[in-house]
Amino acid sequence: MSSTFFTASPEWRWAIVVYFFLGGLAGGSYFLATVLDMFGKDRRLVRFGYLVAFPLVCVSGLLLTLDLKRPERFWHMMIESHTWHPMLKTYSPMSSGAWALLAFGGFAFLSCIAVLGERGWLRWRAVRWLSPPTMVGWLIRVIGTLLGLYVAGYTGVLLSVTNRPIWADTTLLGVIFLISAASTSAALLIVFGSWAGVSGDSVHALERFDRRVLVLELVLIVAMIASLGRVAMVWLNGWGVGLALMLVGGIALPIVLQSRPPAGSVIGPVLVLVGGFVFRALIVFYSGRL
């Protein structure tokens, strides 16, 4: 028996599951907005990617704070309460992740402001400096994108850097959460694009991207289960059925649907979003039961 079965559950529940999902969407949307912008795709998609990232980061921070048993001490993640020195452990994913989320929130805020300026809703002159082609604008986008990817992926690494069953029995959760963040974010942008009437190359490009990362996600989840070795046997129950349904309904079916989507169909992307959420819930809750 794996030694991970002798440990206690941290009892992370819905707030953490929702954070894992929304944090991934925030980082992934910011990343996709940058890439769409670089390739000159539809501005509405670019703006939506940047606009949605900031509120999602705010909700993420709120969820993380509410999940603490002593929420009023949320700032202890950043400041050592005895010495008032900055509190950062690069080797603790939760510590580095808290800083990354804070920093990403700052860059997401700047990009959000830039988009508001682009739309003419903010008339400050300085706002122009926050968007490319200025050097500052590019720096904000590049650093924000890197931080967004970090936020999207570190949550899986955090789970692996424990001693809990499944989480610590594989080293692939980080990359799976990252890829899943990319697929769910692309799905979110496709849904928005459909709602906003964006047509043509931009949405097709997102669908191509989503199909490819979904295939990668499917391969990685199968590899993750294989990497569990004998621990994988714990999936031979109702939870395993749930995982199988998620793989079929949340990944395989959307791949097929997005290969030949009816015009304006959002069924595939919605299934991807639901699948991404269900996957995180299964991973978080099932380990807690073992």
Partner: protein, 260 residues
């Protein structure tokens, strides 16, 4: 600088009296009930059942009986935080609440902990839990306050059979080796020390003499430090980021002109 201090628990002389549990609760003012709930196991004299935020000592009752109950034995073991030399909880704690003391023990500072619970999942032995009274993660402190005053921990003081031995780690190891030799000479070949050498998490400052496999006592056979997964997980994630970036380039490059 004081010497590294700890516990050597000889499970072969534990009688399951739970004096250690009571002394621990008394000294550390731990609540008797879990948030007002007082539950009984219903199938054992062991109603404590596990270590957590309000049970820092736990006397395990392990019944090994044949099906007809003619042959059998009780294994009793007073379990506690292992105060690992390489402590997983201390590694992951994002607030700096978990510290290593001058006695080489591991202590959670309740006034700093914010209840994130990362340490609970990181502990290879499952000894940490939330104390509902404080809302923070708590576990054995090896009676840090008593050690600073030159006293031995409450549990070791209360133990009537010297199953729980407290002292400098070097002295405890000599004592344990002598007892191990005595048991082997007496024919108890299953006796072995758990966590007494550095191969297990750099050494456990609370180690045990057992007469069966660790799993029988609810101890992990091969406890590991959580950070073993950090580098490979981070590397996979970086490769994933590269894969996403390349996929986006391949997917978003122009196929017949730009959008408006």
């Amino acid at each position: 600088m004081p010497e590294p201090m700890g516990f050597y628990t000889d499970t072969t002389v534990c009688i399951g009296c739970k004096a250690c549990e009571v002394a621990c609760k008394e000294w550390n003012q731990l609540p008797a009930t879990n948030g007002g709930r007082n539950t009984m196991s219903g199938d054992s004299y062991d109603n404590t059942r596990r270590l957590d935020g309000i049970h820092w000592r736990h006397v395990k009752f392990i019944e090994q009986f044949s099906a007809d109950r003619r042959d059998g034995r009780w294994l009793l073991m007073s379990d506690v935080c292992k105060h690992c030399v390489r402590a997983g909880c201390l590694e992951v704690c994002p607030t700096g609440a978990i510290i290593r003391t001058e006695f080489d023990t591991v202590v959670i500072q309740s006034d700093t902990c914010n209840g994130c619970r990362d340490c609970i999942g990181a502990c290879p032995f499952g000894v940490i839990g939330i104390n509902p009274a404080s809302g923070t993660a708590e576990k054995c402190t090896l009676c840090y306050d008593r050690l600073q005053a030159g006293l031995e921990p409450a549990c070791a003081k209360a133990c009537p059979t010297e199953s729980i031995n407290f002292g400098p780690i070097a002295d405890l190891k000599k004592m344990a080796q002598a007892r191990l030799g005595q048991l082997h000479r007496a024919g108890e070949s299953r006796a072995h020390l758990y966590g007494a050498d550095e191969r297990m998490l750099g050494g456990l400052n609370s180690f045990y003499l057992l007469v069966d496999k660790p799993e029988v006592y609810g101890l992990p056979p091969d406890p590991k430090i959580p950070s073993r997964n950090l580098k490979p997980s981070a590397l996979w994630s970086m490769l994933g980021a590269v894969a996403i970036a390349l996929t986006s380039v391949v997917s978003f490059r122009n196929r017949g002109g730009r959008d408006v």
